[in-house]
Amino acid sequence: MSDAAWTHDGYEMVVGLEVHVELATKTKLFSASANRFGDEPNTNIDPVTLGLPGALPVLNRQAVELAMRIGVALDCTVQPCTFARKNYFYPDMPKAYQISQYDQPLNVDGRLELSDGIVIGVERAHLEEDTGKSTHIGGTGRIHGSEGSLIDFNRAGVPLVEIVSRPDIRSPEQAKAYVNELRGILVAIGASDARMEEGSMRVDANVSVRRPDAEFGTRCEIKNVNSVRSLGRAIDYEARRQVALIEGGESVRQETRHWDENDGRTHTLRSKEDADDYRYFPDPDLVRLDPGEEWISSVRAAMPMLPAARRRRLAEVTGFDVASEAVATVVERGQDEYILEVAALGAAADRALTHVKEAFADAGAAPKVSAADLASLIAMEVSGELTATQTKTVLADLVAAGGGDARAIAATHGFEALETSELDRFVDEAIAADPDAWAKFCAGEPKAMGALVGYVMKASKGQADGKAVTALLQSRRS
């Protein structure tokens, strides 16, 4: 998981992430125009969205509520704040300024704990508005060489929270774990669907390298990372590039770089020497926001259990390691509640976790197979009525059919638990058929047991439970 240390020629990487998430509101941050993905271009527009002369912003209460949930979930201090204008010209930025938060953001000083216990600091999580979308026409479809661009403002004004981590990340694996963990939290609290592919979650990485314990090096900001996998690749590439520069006697230039998925490299987008001068100042069209203790407490009280706590709970109930992949996987899928339900019916929780992890990859947070059906199956498995192999077969049928009676499905396969007398008979046959193996087994050669068990399995057409056979052989020997 995230513990794989990254070093290269004696350098370590220092990474901070800026994650933009679109909030799951019905309307935009400052207007009643719809916040909806995938509509016809320029159909979710109004005077505020388009920055028409005379238009005025009014803050969306639900956007604030969701941003506060993010702050509380990330253990931030949620505080009184203001909105500022960030001035810059770009055709998809309607007013030529973005309303954002600058020196007084809503959420500050938080933390995010990865599944292996490492804590990444969160500097701030502030509210701001999204831009429209440009499509470059002609040429290669990229900015350079295009004949022009077409702008759709449906996305303009959609509420975003920008979550800025501290530069606490030290490996591509940690960066990926941070984003996955953050995504899990955002989904759990209903703040965002946080889909990187659809752009509702966007990640920029600030990367530098240094000798361990040395001062921070010059950093580059990497943009256009469109998946968690690309994030790992981009950071790895960029850190190696910087090490090579330094080792080659050159220095790293502070700049913004663009990740190119096709060639697997980062490319200069613009250098910070000609840094923009955003001329931030308080937006005079908006007033102070002071959430106040009462609102913050109500958000805190309504907080669902977050992934880290859910992992702890599941590990406790199942006996699995809290840092195990199985625990992380099912919690990420949101199937931990389901497993607890199955366990509550008296079924073995560890078996439930294993089965759900293996067979429910596409089942979502609320599997069709009822908890009772899975619990019955596990009961059959544990009592020895079904072998491990038979259990898998029945489980696959249950999943395909969306549930059913495990005993009836087992019967259709002819899986019937062998009577003890029958098993005794098969064991007798096995000893008779291979006395050599029996002698060796009795002389203390454990390997010899394989032949005897194999005979029983074959003779019983797989209906015998391997564990039961082993136990029987051992009791005969003694």
């Binding site: 005077p47 388009l50 920055g51 028409l52 002369p53 005379g54 238009a55 005025l56 912003p57 009014v58 803050l59 204008r85 001035n87 010209f89 055709p91 309607p94 007013k95 030529a96 300024y97 661009s149 702008i151 403002f153 001068d277 001329r279 100042f281 005079p284 069209d285 908006l286 007033v287």
Partner: protein
């Protein structure tokens, strides 16, 4: 008063059926036909639309309905107020043919009160100026003396009322843009408390300073129009969620027992005729039973500097949206940045460019604290000084403008000289307090002088009581 009937009497005669809205409109259109070429108060006269809305008022009256307090009253709108489907230009080439897809809140409120919109009035481009000489469509002339400016930036709205083209008009006031032209044109002009009138649909110059307000023939009309347009609007976050006080009871209250402040450290620079008129105003009010009390407002003198840093800073950002992408004019170029530069370079006039430059500089990296940041602190000093003064007085009296209407071109070469026109009006915009100009006597060349009455936030009732007293005294010809 200049011989034109009040809006109250017009509305009353229309409501009672004594006159038709259509005949009232035609009378105003006739005056427009007669003098508009000379005055150029309007960017656009809406003769046909006005005729159909006047006819609609007449039909409603025939049905026995009451169209509202402004039934059939012809009203002119400053051309920085959005009117759906009707060109709204800010007297700028960059918005020359722009038709907004929505109405400003004040426009809706006027329509709901039965007003008939007769046209969109000329202004200094984007409301930046004090003479209406900065309009891209040519200057407006003062109807009282066409060799002189009407003041600005709402010069067209002031001139429209003074010339009898409209019975009422709306302007906007960011640093004096209602009160100063009202003074120069001899009409009443009010800048309400910041947040009392919705700014939604007012094309922003400087958002924390802008307020919409009326131009009228008399103080009672101003009270009537202000009551129509004021009130909370959830569409404007800076609109104050508070009931706007009724003004009618103030008009006959008189000034007996009121404490009226004279600012002893007021910046100098007013012409002698203006100084004399203000002195006469104090005498009149004292004679009517008010107590005159000396106060000091040390920060008053720094208002100009604070204003000319804050307003351009906000404007530089507010006017960034004129980029040739979504609306307005565009100058074609080979790439987007060149298009921006060319569009804005050609679309804005010299004064607008000057203020955008000044504001951009004041906000830019390394200068924010020295300019914009400092100006915000001076703004606080100003508010503190006024608050201290209002512990001792109910209203303050100053000149509205340092001079009577001045000849064209006399201040265009020196921006600072033009900026000094706003010396006495700017502080109320910085504090957000209400202030109004009421005609009080005449000065050089027989031109009108405006006396400014200032009050604390939501102090409009007292402010109107004092203005009404000054108006009664002026009508009796007791002064100058």
């Amino acid at each position: 008063m200049n011989g034109f009937p009040s809006a109250r009497s017009i509305a009353e005669s229309i409501r009672t059926g004594e006159r038709s809205a259509r005949s009232v409109l035609d009378e105003h259109l006739a005056r427009i036909n007669e003098r508009e070429n000379e005055v150029h108060a309007f960017n656009l006269v809406l003769a046909e639309q006005a005729a159909s809305s006047a006819d609609e008022i007449d039909r409603r009256i025939a049905r026995g309905e009451n169209p509202g307090p402004l039934a059939g009253v012809p009203v002119a709108l400053k051309d920085n107020l959005c009117t759906r489907g009707i060109p709204t230009t800010c007297s700028s080439k960059i918005l020359q043919d722009w038709k907004p897809p929505y109405d400003a809140t004040v426009v809706t409120r006027l329509a709901n009160a039965g007003a008939v919109i007769v046209g969109k009035t000329n202004l200094d481009e984007f409301a930046m100026g004090s003479s209406t000489e900065n309009s891209a469509f040519g200057p407006t002339r003062n109807p009282l003396d066409v060799t002189r400016v009407p003041g600005g930036s709402s010069g067209g709205s002031a001139a429209a009322v003074a010339a009898g083209f409209a019975s009422l008009s709306l302007g906007s006031d960011t640093g004096g843009s209602i009160r100063q032209p009202a003074a120069l044109c001899g009409v009443v002009g009010v800048k309400p408390t910041y947040g009392a009138v919705s700014r939604l649909g007012l094309i922003a110059f400087a958002s924390s300073l802008d307020q919409i307000g009326p131009f009228t023939h008399d103080v009672a009309d101003a009270a009537l129009m202000l009551e129509v347009i004021a009130g909370h609007d959830p569409g404007d976050s800076t609109s104050i969620p508070q009931h706007f006080p009724s003004l009618a009871p103030s008009l006959d209250r008189g000034v007996s027992g009121l404490r009226i402040g004279r600012i002893t450290d007021l910046p100098e620079g007013a012409d002698q005729d203006v100084v004399d008129a203000v002195d006469a105003a104090f005498d009149t009010l004292a004679a009517a039973g008010a107590e005159i009390i000396d106060v000091t407002i040390p920060a008053f003198t720094y208002g100009l500097t604070a204003y000319y840093l804050i307003a351009p800073a906000e404007a530089s950002s507010n006017l960034a949206r004129y980029d040739g992408v979504r609306f307005g004019s565009r100058v074609a170029a080979s790439d987007t940045n060149a298009m921006y530069m060319a569009t804005r370079g050609a679309g804005f006039g010299p004064e607008v460019k000057r203020r955008i430059m000044l504001g951009t500089y004041a906000l830019s990296a390394g200068y924010y604290d020295a300019y914009y940041g400092k100006a915000l602190k001076v703004r606080r000093l100003m508010a503190n000084d006024f608050a201290a003064a209002y512990e001792h007085v109910d209203v303050l009296i100053t000149p509205a403008s340092p001079s009577v209407a001045f000849p064209f071109g006399s201040k265009t070469e020196d921006p600072l000289a033009m900026y000094l026109c706003d010396t006495y009006t700017i502080p109320s915009n910085l504090t957000g307090h209400p202030a109004m100009s009421v005609p009080f006597g005449t000065g050089e060349h027989g031109l009108p002088i405006g006396v400014q009455v200032l009050a604390p936030a939501f102090g409009e009732p007292t402010m109107f009581a004092v203005a009404a007293e000054l108006e009664r005294s002026a009508a009796r010809g007791e002064h100058v």
